[in-house]
């Protein structure tokens, strides 16, 4: 459009830059703090630029178990986070795919009943019913296990809905062509539907990976064994030291380590991420 408003352009960039600074500043400070020793962080004002303890701090964190974190090396916690995140992600995608397939491509008694049953879980976060869920887990003897960490979180209305939505956009003619080509339901699923869902699966993968990685309360209550601790819950233990001085350089180092994997995933696969997010929620 013909527009003669240089001021507007200036304001636009100013707003954006202010926003970016607001968003980046906290993590910048965390990053900076993680490169200092404890002395630099014991008195205000704390430094705004990197210190020289970075390698040292990160090496300590990744390899040795800090007492503040219950003696578990952050490296191990990150591995646990990874296992949990991948387990949740793959599990959710797998069961949602087939559930959505059943709902879209078949007509059978109680179809809508099942549909609503899944639907109603859409907004019922685990935090709301944490105690009874914990109870159920203990009854099933799933405490302190990877499957205890993973399975209860893999029912996903969101993913089921995304796939349902996606399947509905696949032209009817494709099924029809496949049927004329002599493909039965399983063949159609394997040969046509699954390959077609690739981008959606990938996009959802990112979203769910972040969801899984960032789990907090659930690992906090189902793990009592240290070698199952995940990094996001682990940090709480360090920050809430209460009795002893919080080891901010380690806490911020751990925070960086905990946020790097999901942030990298988001940035590296920005396009897929945006697609996954915008489509899975709408």
């Amino acid at each position: 459009m013909v527009e003669n408003r240089p001021l507007a352009t200036f304001v636009t960039h100013a707003v954006l830059i202010a926003g970016v600074v607001f968003l980046c500043f906290p993590v910048w400070m965390a990053l900076v703090a993680s490169t200092h020793g404890p002395e630099a962080l014991s008195k205000a004002p704390i430094p705004l630029w990197f210190g020289d303890q970075g390698w040292q701090n990160y090496r300590d964190l990744l390899t040795t178990g800090l007492p503040e974190a219950g003696g578990v090396p952050v490296g191990l916690m990150m591995l646990n986070s990874l296992i949990m995140a991948l387990g949740i992600t793959i599990g959710k995608i797998a069961i949602s795919l087939i559930a959505a397939y059943a709902i879209v491509y078949f007509r059978f008694p109680f179809r809508m009943g099942f549909f609503w049953m899944i639907f109603i879980t859409l907004m019922l976060p685990v935090e709301v019913r944490i105690l009874p869920t914990f109870d159920v887990i203990t009854r099933l003897d799933m405490l302190n296990t990877y499957h205890g960490l993973i399975i209860p979180l893999i029912a996903s209305a969101t993913a089921t809905f995304l796939f349902r939505q996606f399947f509905l956009t696949i032209p009817d003619e494709l099924v029809e062509a496949a049927r004329i080509d002599g493909a039965g339901p399983l063949k159609f699923f394997r040969d046509i539907l699954l390959p077609l869902s690739r981008t959606n699966i990938a996009a959802l993968f990112i979203i769910l990976f972040i969801y899984g990685w960032n789990q907090y309360l659930w690992p906090l209550i189902v793990t009592t064994e240290e070698n199952l601790y995940t990094v996001v819950m682990g940090i709480q233990r360090m920050a809430n030291s209460g009795e002893s001085l919080p080891v901010w350089h380690y806490i911020m180092g751990t925070a960086m380590l905990a946020l790097i994997p999901p942030v990298v995933v988001v940035l590296a696969m920005q396009r897929l991420f945006v697609k996954g997010l915008v489509e899975s929620e709408k």
Partner: protein, 292 residues
């Protein structure tokens, strides 16, 4: 609905079985147990329980602290939603204007989505720490005394900012998508109709964004109500003086820390009703009304 479907007596059930099993075991069973437990009081170790009918509920609604949590949750929810949505909208509108640079800015804005609420909380907690946090220090230089250990309002403000900070990316992406889906020709028609940029925004863009806005309202409320548990737990633990104890935190606090299973279960039931209410509102009311 699909025109053509496959016919099989058993296959659809087999395909649904895993999802339904997990849902039944980890959603419905606990939900039923919550309802059941809410009618009992129980000792910490689970040796004895006594049926008390609605006493747990009655006590909750007589408990000023619990009622205060409603207020806190509401303030928190409104605060987070308003802050996160208004900043995100401003950024999205700006990013949508700069054309070529949109991708660059988008990259710089979206990543906090990946930061866990707990981490967001801890990082802000560090920034705001009265004795060494840099922001608290700056505030002090400005003559503002920051101490969220003592001042409940400040503590609440801190968790609101931290929670909103993390949510901006999300809202931004949806607003940007919403803005980009407004046909360019609509803006052009308005320009020809002599509306300046400001007027165009308020009379065309903003109304056309209303479906996105309402969707985000619900999502942000749900986020603020439930998903920020980690943030509160990792920072203020509900304090000081109960001033950041939102409902979902209280469920945990009462149950796990206070070992008061009955009351915690009753709170769960109330919250579940609330969530289901929100869901229904979203699908029944909002969807219908906001379709222009």
């Amino acid at each position: 609905m699909k025109r053509v479907v496959f016919r099989s007596r058993w296959l659809p059930y087999a395909l649904l079985a895993p999802q339904i099993a997990v849902t039944l075991i980890f959603f419905f069973w606990p939900a039923l147990r919550a309802i059941e437990s809410s009618f009992f009081i129980e000792d910490a170790f689970g040796f004895a329980r006594e049926f008390v009918a609605f006493e747990n509920y009655a006590r909750l609604f007589a408990d000023a602290g619990y009622l205060k949590s409603f207020r806190t949750t509401l303030i928190f929810g409104v605060g987070v939603t308003a802050l996160a949505m208004s900043i995100a909208l401003a950024l999205a509108v700006a990013a949508n204007r700069v054309l070529q640079a949109t991708t660059l800015y988008r990259t710089l804005i979206i990543w906090p989505y990946a930061v866990a609420p707990a981490l967001a909380g801890v990082i802000w907690f560090f920034l705001m720490n009265p004795s060494l946090g840099i922001v608290a220090y700056w505030l002090d230089l400005l003559g503002y005394d920051w101490n969220h250990y003592q001042n409940g309002d400040q503590a609440l403000l801190m968790v609101i900012v931290a929670a909103a900070w993390k949510q901006i990316s999300y809202n931004f992406l949806f607003f940007l998508a919403g803005l980009q889906s407004i046909p360019k020709s609509m803006m052009e028609a308005a320009a020809i109709d002599r509306a300046g940029p400001w007027r165009r925004f308020w009379t065309i863009t903003f109304p056309l964004l209303s479906p996105t806005t309402f969707f985000l309202l619900v999502i942000n409320f749900v986020y603020a109500f439930f998903e920020t548990f980690a943030l509160i737990h990792a920072t203020t633990s509900g304090g000081p003086s109960d001033s950041t104890s939102i409902l979902v935190f209280r469920v945990y606090q009462t149950g796990f820390v206070g070992q008061d299973y009955g009351s915690s279960a009753a709170q769960s039931v109330i919250l579940m009703a609330l969530v289901i209410g929100l869901t229904v509102i979203q699908f029944r009311y909002v969807e219908r009304r906001v379709n222009y």
